[in-house]
């Protein structure tokens, strides 16, 4: 694309970098627009679901019957609010914190594949990269809590630090199962390994992955700091926790980060456990045949179908997380911590061990029909072993 732009503008080779920069900025803007749309939809869905659960209608006035334009109205309201910085706060860090919490979540979408060919940058280690980047979000929140110069905020920030660092461990453990089954950390290959009917999805691979999937769900909710694990804000104890002192635009950046993180963990979970862009019924394969031997238009259509599949699954995930927030009560902080270390972590470790044994004992599955696997890694391992064993 950069090459094409540079040819089109007939740039001399020494100015080619301008083309690269333009294309990079353009791609970043597209990605940002995508994330912001997802965030806007999620806030609207949150209001609607909350309304339905509480036997209300939710927003109905702004933008037609269903209140489609409510996110826009919310945004306008937030932008026009007064922007306060408390006298006790460290002004630089206070300003920096919201962006530090939003930027990593945005980075996740760089490595997340929407369909087998639609990924901003194809990482070899995408699954691990996303888990690592998601873990960075916490620092913005700790910093916001610390820089506010308020005791409520500080307590919220400390809770967040303890909670997120703890829940990262079982989260990574449960995410390791699909990586183990597919034999690679490449999310595109992991998605491809679940091609076909829905019983090929890793969540239904064996009982242990089923357990791991639910651990992933719990830890993902806790890791994104959503209710019922929103101990960092806990309005009944800490006023508003880490964002007590924030208002207006900066507060909304924290919220955008939270909603974008929801979409990100749902996306990762969908690719890891729920088949990614493969529908429950292999319609795409019947319609378009194997992906390699087709014209660009058919290829594009199959990619589009994959992306639609993926996005529908993500929306289901996000709505599930929202309905969790409005149905479950909030546990105490010690209950949250003991849930992580006494239940989630041992269960995740056991599931990991069990899945390892399952693959070892029943490599072809219970019915002996075999499971499509990503072959590249296995081959490289086999080559290694052969090389070492051959004298």
């Amino acid at each position: 694309m950069a090459q094409w732009l540079s040819d089109w503008l007939t740039l001399s080779p020494q100015w080619e970098w301008v083309a690269y920069l333009t294309v990079a900025l353009l791609q970043a803007v597209i990605l940002l627009a995508l994330v912001m749309t997802a965030v806007a939809l999620a806030t609207w869905a949150e209001r609607k679901v909350a309304g339905r659960i509480q036997d209300r209608l939710g927003p109905t006035r702004v933008g037609g019957r269903f209140g489609w334009l409510q996110p826009l109205a919310d945004g306008l309201k937030l932008f026009t609010k007064e922007d306060l910085i408390p006298a006790n706060a460290d002004a630089v860090l206070f300003r920096l914190a919201p962006y530090l919490s939003f930027a990593p979540v945005f980075g996740v979408f760089m490595a997340l594949p929407f369909s087998d060919g639609w990924v901003a940058h194809h990482f070899n280690t995408a699954a691990f990269f996303i888990l690592a980047v998601l873990g960075l979000e916490v620092f913005g929140i700790i910093l916001g809590g610390y820089a506010s110069g308020s005791k409520w905020s500080l307590l919220g920030g400390m809770r967040e630090a303890a909670q997120v660092v703890s829940y990262e461990v079982p989260l990574a453990f449960s995410a390791m199962l699909p990586i183990l089954l597919a034999g690679t950390m490449d999310l595109v290959a992991i998605g491809e390994a679940q091609r076909g009917w829905f019983w090929n999805w890793f969540v239904f691979h064996d009982p242990f992955t089923f357990v791991a999937f639910w651990i992933y769900v719990i830890c993902a909710v806790a890791g994104t700091n959503r209710a019922p694990f929103d101990l960092a804000e806990a309005e009944s104890e800490l006023v508003a926790g880490f964002h007590t002192e924030y208002s207006g635009f900066r507060w909304s950046v924290f919220y955008m980060g939270e909603y974008a993180a929801m979409a990100a963990v749902c996306g990762l979970g969908v690719v890891l456990f729920l088949g990614g862009w493969n529908g429950p019924i292999p319609v795409a394969e019947w319609l378009f045949g194997p992906a390699s031997s087709t014209s660009p238009i058919v290829n594009f259509l199959s990619q589009l179908l994959g992306a639609v599949n993926f996005i529908i699954k993500c929306i289901i995930g996000v709505v599930f997380m929202i309905s969790l927030r409005w149905t479950l009560p909030r546990p105490r902080i010690d209950q949250v911590m003991s849930m992580c270390w006494k239940y989630c972590f041992p269960l995740a470790a056991l599931a990991f061990l069990g899945a390892t044994l399952w693959v070892l004992m029943l490599p072809d599955g219970l019915l002996g029909q075999g499971h499509p696997k990503a072959s590249t890694c296995e081959q490289s391992v086999m080559v290694t072993v052969e090389r070492i064993e051959t004298p």
Partner: protein, 212 residues
């Protein structure tokens, strides 16, 4: 990455982030600002790793350093601060000593870096050893290869012509095991050190009851 120019742009961007973060660490007067500088710097380093083709190590840097170690540091700051935003005290003597030591060190290191000629000089040596003359492209380092090397099946030390494997070429199983035991020891040690001080003649349970 997108061609040499794209790589150069990204390299300079992240090099500036890395060095800027390091400068913030040195020049800031607040410990938390120094921690933020460290975050920026380590993040830049992770991105430089990704640029250099070390994807797994780059992600590891993000997860362990930026997501783990620095959060731990921030936690430590919060637990040991008597009041928020305590300024760091630095005397002039310390700065003098630091500058006196840093200047010659910088000169030496810069000289060393400049004297390094960026050729594939390693290749000539190994060429003579294995008798292979055609240069092959370097293979990407995948997590599977790293994992096999840690388990004792190192792929990199094998001659392209399938020559014999000598002792000591078999990967990193022993260091891997040692570091696992080391981590366990550290875990226990840190937990022991950080436990609450219990006055003598009192069981921990009594102490807790007293505090509540």
């Amino acid at each position: 990455m997108t061609g040499p120019d794209g790589m150069a742009i990204l390299f300079w961007l992240f090099a500036i982030v890395t060095c800027g973060g390091a400068l913030v660490v040195v020049l800031s007067r607040h410990i938390v600002r120094a921690a933020v500088g460290l975050i920026l710097s380590l993040f830049g380093v992770a991105m430089l790793f990704l640029l250099a083709g070390a994807e797994f190590v780059g992600a590891m840097q993000l997860m362990i350093y930026v997501g783990g170690t620095v959060v731990l540091l921030a936690f430590g700051v919060m637990l040991t601060a008597r009041r928020p935003l305590l300024p760091l005290s630095t005397t002039r003597d310390q700065w003098l000593a630091a500058v006196l030591l840093a200047c010659p060190l910088t000169v030496i290191l810069v000289q060393a870096a400049l004297s390094y000629a960026p050729t594939d000089s390693v290749s000539a040596q190994v060429d003579a050893h294995s008798g292979v003359s055609t240069p092959v492209g370097m293979l990407p380092v995948t997590p599977a290869r790293l994992g096999m090397a840690l388990l004792g099946f190192s792929q990199d030390n094998h001659r392209p012509d399938g020559g014999e494997v000598s002792h000591g070429d078999s990967g990193y199983l022993l260091p891997f095991e040692l570091i696992s035991v080391h981590l366990l020891v550290v875990l226990i040690g840190a937990a022991y050190l950080a436990r609450r001080e219990v006055p003598s003649g009192m069981t921990p349970r009594d102490n807790q009851g007293q505090l509540q």
